[in-house]
Amino acid sequence: MNFAIVLLAGPQDPAARSALNFARAVLDAGHQISRLFFYRDAVHLATALGVQPQDEADVYADWRTFISDNKLDGVICIAAALRRGVLNDAEANRWQRPAANTGAPWELSGLGQWVDSLQTADRTVTFGT
């Protein structure tokens, strides 16, 4: 089965971890993930600048590694990201900001990607409120 997974809650919300655990279980069970879409505060997961205490799990790094290792389509909503200061090189240049804080494997794109997932995936599962 082909899954799309949507996360709405930020890195500090337990939903960020639940969504990752669910995504891992989907692949472990032999299913596919056609897209991961991050909206609202979930876009904060894409920052490369989060630093966690050494004895705590790093949900930012865990998501980044999961997406890279499995070559998944990890999309953060561009409008939500710009509002919250999550910018890649292209957006930092476009808006003349002094630095970018996100990049591969994350991709910035529009809500249309979520709409597309809802139409094409067998199941779209949303985490967080």
Binding site: A79, Q119, T129
Partner: protein, 117 residues
């Protein structure tokens, strides 16, 4: 094409209210049959006579008025949530359809996808 019901539950001053409307307009722009249900504090988004400027915010009215233009005809409001807040359907900005809990249960069956924002 799969139909989509968006349930918007946050008050108007919350960014989530705007982001739920954005999603509704995006889905409609892609030709997806889209319904929108206001419930819980989300019903406050519809309340007439608001002045978002007092909170240094942009009003949601333009987005709400765009719903019709984007072809979103199924705009519904939860009767129970309205009553809990001392409001009635005449105090709502748009021509909304007032639905009770039994009708909401039917909506969840009727739409192929449901998201709660």
């Amino acid at each position: 094409m799969k139909s989509l019901l968006i349930i918007t539950r946050r008050p108007p001053a919350h960014l989530a209210a705007r982001e739920a409307l954005d999603m509704a307009l995006a889905a409609a722009a892609f030709g997806v049959p889209t319904g929108l249900l206001f419930m819980d504090d989300g019903v406050l988004q519809l309340s007439k006579g608001q002045d978002a400027g007092v909170l240094q915010q942009k009003s949601l009215t333009a987005n709400l008025e765009a719903l019709d233009m984007y072809g979103i005809e199924d705009v519904m409001v939860c009767h129970h949530s309205l009553r809990e807040r001392g409001l009635n359907v005449n105090q709502c900005l748009l021509a909304v359809n007032c639905v009770d809990s039994a009708q909401i249960a039917n909506l969840l069956e009727h739409y192929s996808e449901v998201i709660s924002l």
